[in-house]
Amino acid sequence: MQIAIASGKGGTGKTSLAVSLFLANADRSRLLDCDVEEPNCHLFLKTRFVSRSSVERRIPLLNPDLCKHCGKCVEACQFNALAEAGKAGILVFEELCHSCGGCSLVCPTGALQETPLKMGAITRALVAEKAELITGALAIGHTETPTLIRAVKKKQPDPEVEFTLIDAPPGTACAFATAVEHADFVLLVAEETPFGLHDLKLTLKALQKKGLPFAVILNRMRPGFSSVQEFCKEKNYPLWLQIPESRDIAGTYARGGTLLDAMPELQESLRLLLDKCAEELLCNRRN
């Protein structure tokens, strides 16, 4: 099953939790780092490189001999990636191109041929010689985040594992939406502060639009703070794990360690967490 780990904004401890879940379940899970603009799961893991493949998209290439300067392509492109520059003819701005293919479709002379352009790479690596980490990284200057996320999610080589964990990009914009799409379950990491509550509500709105089942993981619980807990209780939202605010955890993180390094006692709960996701999935299927 696919489990996405998401949060409304950055800095909630999402990646640290995703990596810890992965480590605690190394025998039965795989981790996809879909935060392709800033993939950093690997910073917290000791990995052995296995392979890298590049991801391409197609951009138009102009054959000036065939171009009759009719301007139909410029008109068709919704992204201003093509421009008419007077006597210089048609210019192509590949960084603005969304690879829709519209221009070559309308060109009456076939002057625009699509050619591949590298937009990013997908890396496979092994952790402790068994668990697989798949990382998508967008090349600098490229913005086709959703396309790359889709490619990472499609890259599901064997062996089949029980759980595929997805570290989703922060925010509720299209990158987030693409990462959680088709997930069987979403774990939402929220911080126990008023800002955290507001961000959680935004993320929930986005999730509920898609009708995805979820549970909340509460991070940085402080004595005297309870707004997120009360909110979940009131709405009857499942609250599955509560992690205290602690200088120790923050310090471990600053030194490049994970939640599990700071609190090894969480190992068991992190295994149970995935079992619970699986149970929920079964229940949902039955209903």
């Binding site: 421009a83 210019l91 701005f93």
Partner: protein, 119 residues
Amino acid sequence: MKIAFSTSGNTLESLLDTRFGRCSQFLILDTETKDYEILENTQNLNSVQGAGIQSAQTVLKTGAEALVTGHCGPKAFKVLHAAGIAIYLAENRPIHDLAEAFAAGKLALLTDADVEGHW
């Protein structure tokens, strides 16, 4: 010859708008007859990206041979440069002032983009 100025006003007293891609209109001045016309640049406000490129094409279509504006990003520069339009940078002063400065050869000719494009 014709010169294009980026602006938000309608007269020669209006100030130069130092933005190129996002200016609301262009004033096209004919240096011989001193006639001028205003050309709206509003279609850009709706485009997702590439405002500079669109503006560059708008200027191109007017037949202007020179453009006076505040900044010019790399993509717009590429289009204007390829089309042979000279770009001059100036501050937000009245257009008639700048037209004089242009005639006196006192405006700085841009030889490369001076700002990074965004979205």
